[in-house]
Amino acid sequence: MTRLLEDLRKKAYSVYRSEEVKLLIRHRRGVVGLALLTIIVFMALTADLIAPRRFDEVDTALRLQPPSLKHLFGTDHLGRDVFSRIVYGARIALWVGILVVLVEAGIGVTLGLISGYYSGFLDKVISAFTDMLWAFPPIILALAIVTILGPGLTNVVIAVAVVSWAPYARIVRAKTQSLVSREFVMAARAIGESDLSIMFRYILPNTLVSIIVLATLTIPSAILYTTALSFLGFGAQPPTPDWGAMLNEGKDYIFGAPWNSIFPGVFITLTALSFNLLGDALRDVLDPKLRLR
């Protein structure tokens, strides 16, 4: 009996998944995004193998060499190999992007769930707070927060997350509100489910798709924000091969050694692009109605 059920479960699950996966595969842009992302993830995972040198290996004799076979992307003002730094930088970009999203989703989803489920005073307070955040140029707030916390990647992650959870709160709130009036929530109450159980068993799972899609779509902006902060000199500490920090260092040599600025930017763009393409595809397939703003 149980055996049979287990088999059934697996089968049902695979059917359910495969349909969406099939749709995703048919989504050409999504596949391109996935391929790009795979390359970047591959870079990040195998950095130690594919990077010809360490990211912090200084050799002043080799400084500001243009791209060549030996140094694919040239060298920077300290004679570090730009290609190697880019490869190691992929780790940071991915790590930062995902961490920011985890933190901001954590904040946003919790607040959104609470304010959507308990309408009334709590909702008004949270919504007002969200609105206020919305009206505030995010980069400025992030700048101020980083200044308080001190520079460093972790602090940048916190700062960016703290200023950008609003979309999550809004979307989860809206979804929750629409779900609360849905009949299955009413039915759950009719069988005696508690509030907490309703929130986590009935509402959260149904917002999950939106959250995942939103997460994919906010990773690029997280990356763009953190690199912007690094670019302004508030992010990763040298010699971390953060792409934004590389741009910050490279811009002094923009005319003499433009490769120092070109390549980090290209890779920031590619990473953001891969997530954007993937997120778009996910949205098309999973949650066509989702709006970011």
Partner: protein, 313 residues
């Protein structure tokens, strides 16, 4: 509801937002590490002198006293004096604001002109190769960091082609590259929204009704579809202000433009309380005003908005 009371109401709602933002900011500035007085005092100044300066600037007071002091002056139109340059904040702002406004205006013109027109074209060509091409272009430009784009444009137009000034302000043409770097990523967002809205509206029942009535194609597309599709884009136009200002901070810093964004960046670094407060106050007020303007425009365009929706219990 009358126009006046509607506007007043919307503006009244904005007041707590302005207060909230300034209070939060004040405490943030207060908790910034480092001591602005020591920063301005320099290397050769004695501790007694530091204390004297601190008293003179009122920085020995608890933060809420400082806030109310600041607020009471703001109400009288006095934004205070920059601790670094000793110039009145309002003077500094007046000097810088035009550049930032101009930058924002130009970039908004560019991004909305590009975004709206391409969005419409793309929506009407939905599913055709040209739509795919435009959409991909949009996603790509959406993924480019504005500051890097600025750097590249600077390299190409300013250095290689020597067409435009590299940085600094030498006249309106100096704003072209910065505005472009601000506008391109945002135009992609506009285009995507415009396209999505247009496609959605084209699928609306009332557009089908318009076709069924036998109206000419242009009338259906412009009068019935576009009119409704453009609404969210207009809303976005007004809601985008904070984002644009945020972008201006980076772009102005990169291009060394004498605008408000760069002043803000410098003032945060130098902990020039009064200037930061003043700029953020202006930004928040601008945001609230533009949001209200946006609401008004929406209300003018969409008759449904004027009826207040009720709330259940």
């Amino acid at each position: 509801m009358g126009l006046l009371s509607y506007t007043t109401k919307k503006l009244l709602i904005g007041i707590p937002v302005v207060f909230g933002v300034t209070i939060i900011l004040f405490y943030i500035m207060y908790s910034l590490p480092g001591d602005p007085i020591k920063l301005i005092a320099g290397e050769r100044v004695t501790p007694e002198r530091v204390e004297e300066l601190r008293r003179a600037w009122g920085l020995d007071q608890p933060p809420y006293v400082q806030y109310f002091y600041w607020l009471s002056h703001v109400v009288r139109g006095d934004l205070g004096v920059s601790i670094v340059t000793k110039q009145p904040v309002s003077y500094l702002l007046m000097q810088r604001l035009p550049y930032t406004l101009m930058l924002m205006l130009i970039s908004m013109l560019i991004s909305y002109a590009i975004g709206v027109s391409i969005g419409i074209v793309s929506a009407l060509m939905k599913g055709k190769p040209i739509d795919g091409l435009l959409s991909v272009t949009a996603i790509v430009s959406y993924s480019i960091p504005g500051f890097w784009l600025g750097l590249m444009l600077m390299l190409v137009f300013g250095y290689y082609l020597r067409l435009l000034p590299i940085s600094g302000y030498e006249g309106l043409h100096s704003l072209l590259i910065p505005a472009l770097s601000l506008a391109l990523p945002s135009s992609a967002a506009v285009m995507r929204l415009m396209r999505a809205e247009m496609i959605e509206v084209l699928n609306e029942d009332y557009v089908r009704t318009a076709w069924a009535k036998g109206l000419p194609r242009r009338r259906v597309l412009v009068v019935h579809a576009l009119r409704n599709a453009v609404l969210p884009v207009v809303v976005m136009l007004f809601l985008d202000i904070p984002w644009l200002i945020g972008g201006a901070v980076v772009i102005e810093t990169l291009f060394a433009l004498p605008g408000m964004g760069r002043l803000l960046y410098l003032s945060i670094i130098r902990q020039d309380y009064a200037v930061v407060q003043g700029i953020v106050l202006i930004i928040t007020i601008l945001t609230v005003v533009f949001n209200t303007l946006g609401d008004l425009v929406v209300a003018a365009l969409d008759p449904r908005v004027r009826v207040e929706k009720g709330e259940g219990m």
